[in-house]
């Protein structure tokens, strides 16, 4: 009972009247710049209207309200960041209303979304963990930094733990709370540096952690001695990589996520690929189930290309 394309093949209205909406949260964070960028570029490339909406805080209730509203506007497709299972019900509601939904960045496999585009938070953590292990030569004490309670971050932490478990020489000594605040993160990191004078690495799963850890390491005069793997590609992180305080950062090709998500939705609406004689009857959407946008590890060797001018 997957949602069906709105009209018969080829009979779709002209592109410029089509609307695709992304619903997200935390929209004011640096990271989500790429989401907006991806939506914008998809709109340009396909000649459709695109919009990015959502609360600027991590507020699922508010996000759902925005989603409800998006449904009320009857767009041609919705792109959503599947932060939490609580979004499942609303995705299903959209599907019921005949609006196809694609999840990006984080998936909700149990819901009626037609596809997922992204790397997944667990993968991001996994790749980061591999990089850290490589930086440390497979041994040493490691601390992780996160903000408790946020699903995507919990996933990344699990990814790190899974990767580091592969290296018997590496010991995860502590998980610290950043409260998503660089100064709090710095305080926590500084305490860890005191407690474990031989701490070899710090891994952070959200932006504030990387900045805070860098600050603490710098202030402790241990720049370069303690390896930091940060998250995302804010200019501040890249700056610290240039300085040599942060060793690497885990970057996803984030802009690709909404871009391809819109592509999928657009194709669904405008080009019914005859995989079968009747895709709908055969229960086929004619869309790929998942696109992996991959993880990029950014370090001294390539950071320069990631710096954005304002």
């Amino acid at each position: 009972d997957r949602p069906q394309p709105a009209g018969p093949p080829g009979a779709k209205r002209d592109a410029s009247s089509q609307l695709y909406i992304e619903v997200s949260a935390l929209g004011s964070l640096d990271y989500f710049y790429d989401h907006k960028l991806g939506m914008e570029l998809a709109g340009k490339a396909l000649g459709v209207r695109t919009e990015y909406t959502g609360p600027s805080d991590y507020d699922m209730a508010a996000m759902i309200t925005v989603f409800e509203q998006a449904i009320a506007r009857k767009p041609d497709g919705i792109v959503v960041v599947g932060f939490e299972p609580s979004l499942g019900a609303i995705i299903d509601k959209a599907a019921e209303a005949g609006i196809p939904v694609v999840t990006v960045d984080a998936d909700l496999p149990g819901s009626r979304r037609i596809a997922f585009v992204g790397t997944g938070n667990h993968r991001a953590g996994l790749e980061g963990g591999r990089k850290l292990a490589e930086l440390l030569g497979g041994k040493g004490k490691v601390a992780l930094m996160t903000k408790p309670g946020q699903s995507n971050l919990e996933e990344r932490i699990r990814g790190y733990q899974d990767a580091l478990r592969q290296h018997p020489g590496i010991e995860v000594v502590q998980v610290a709370d950043t409260q998503s605040d660089p100064t709090v993160a710095a305080q926590a990191a500084a305490a860890l540096l005191q407690k474990y004078p031989d701490l070899a690495g710090i891994a952070c799963v959200e932006a504030a952690g990387g900045n805070g850890a860098a600050m603490a390491v710098r202030e402790a005069g241990k720049a370069g001695k303690v390896r930091i793997v940060a998250m995302d590609r804010g200019n501040d992180v890249l700056e610290s990589i240039r300085e040599g305080v942060i060793s690497a950062t885990v970057v996803q090709q984030t802009a690709l996520m909404p871009f391809y998500a819109v592509q999928i939705l657009y194709n669904l609406n405008n080009a019914d690929i005859p995989i079968t004689t009747n895709n709908a009857a055969a229960g086929i959407t004619g869309a790929p189930a998942a696109i992996d946008t991959g993880v990029v590890i950014v370090d001294r060797s390539n950071y320069g290309h990631f710096v954005r001018s304002r």
Binding site: Y52, D57, Q69, S86, G149
Partner: protein, 330 residues
């Protein structure tokens, strides 16, 4: 003559002025609605209106308790955390195999208990409500993190999810959705009780002058504890409905709700000094704020502007009212 936001009767003019704030908000709401229905064809559809009502349902339920509290001179920052914890505990109960009614009762009892704890600390130990509930906010959210260990709880029974996703008497109209119906009923009930019954009216006296209220024989401590417990209970109701609506309990559920609710209640005419406010006003305050958020989204306003506009609206609404009252005072 000044405008006094206590339910008063008699004296046509006096009553008119007393409701000045409510009229002002209704006027603002109508103005926004008129402008929006011109700007966006979907605005006046039942679907879209139900979105607004659905969005305020959680807030409105909490706002009923918060209004009573503010009227009595109290204050509660812990409601957002209570929304989260009560929802999570209910969900855990369900996951642990409790029947729906038992799990819901457990969640409600927990909410009332948290509220009562606030009330006891405020009334018996005499600690300021701000600091008491700020501490409680951390404790309750912390407890939620501890018991859930950061993980969401989903896969709840359908019978439970119906509480948040079903329709009143199975009328499949958007406005008949359970959260909307429940919140409207609680708001109406709260408004009438606070306006018209002796028991709740005592709150205006406590908020007006606590010492004097004591000397008139009002059992201030008991009512204070009751008010906090009621607010906690209503926060739990909101948390359970939210969990049922989402079909899962999340660790961050309700975070930040306290300030939204307090803003709405104050826009609605309550004051932090106590002694003023009505549930209807608070509800209108919730609607106004939700309408603005909804309109910004419908208009496709850049999200970077939204926070600024919401903050400015809050200030503007209170300012217009204050300046308006001043004119009346002359």
């Amino acid at each position: 003559m000044t405008s006094i936001r206590q339910p008063t009767r008699g004296g046509g003019l006096a009553r008119g002025l007393a409701d000045f704030r409510e009229f002002m908000i209704i006027a603002l709401i109508l103005a926004i609605a008129a402008a929006m229905s011109l700007a966006s064809p979907v605005f006046l559809t039942p679907e879209n209106l139900s979105v607004v009502l659905l969005a305020v349902s959680t807030q409105a339920i909490v706002a009923v308790g918060m209004t009573v509290l503010l009227v009595s001179g109290g204050f509660d920052l812990s409601v957002g955390s209570t929304v989260g914890l009560a929802g999570a505990v209910t969900a855990m109960g369900l996951a642990g195999g409790l029947p729906v009614a038992a799990a819901v009762l457990a969640g409600l009892a927990l909410g009332a208990a948290i509220g009562a704890a606030n009330g006891l600390i405020v009334a018996r130990i005499g600690i300021n409500p701000f600091i008491t509930t700020l501490g409680m906010m951390g404790i309750v959210r912390g407890a939620l993190e501890v018991i859930s260990r950061g993980k969401n709880i989903s896969g709840l029974p359908k019978a439970f999810n119906e509480i948040g996703q079903g329709y009143l008497a199975d009328i499949q109209h958007p406005i008949a959705q359970h959260p909307i119906v429940i919140s409207l009923v609680l708001v109406a009930l709260g408004d009438i009780l606070l306006r018209q019954t002796r028991f709740f009216r005592q709150n205006y006296y406590i908020g007006g002058n606590e010492k004097a209220a004591r000397l008139t024989g009002i059992n201030v401590d008991r009512i204070t504890i009751f008010n906090y417990a009621l607010t906690g209970l209503l926060a739990a109701v909101a948390g359970i409905i939210m969990t049922a609506r989402l079909g899962s309990a999340t660790v961050t559920a309700g975070a930040g709700l306290e300030l939204q609710v307090i803003s709405a209640v104050i826009i609605g005419g309550a004051s932090l000094q106590g002694g003023e406010g009505t549930v209807l006003g608070s509800f209108l305050g919730c609607i106004l704020m939700a309408l603005i958020v909804t309109s910004l989204n419908l208009l496709g306003v850049d999200i970077y502007w939204q926070r600024l506009i919401i903050g400015a609206t809050l200030l503007a609404a209170v300012m217009i009212d204050t300046l308006g009252k001043r004119r009346h005072r002359r």
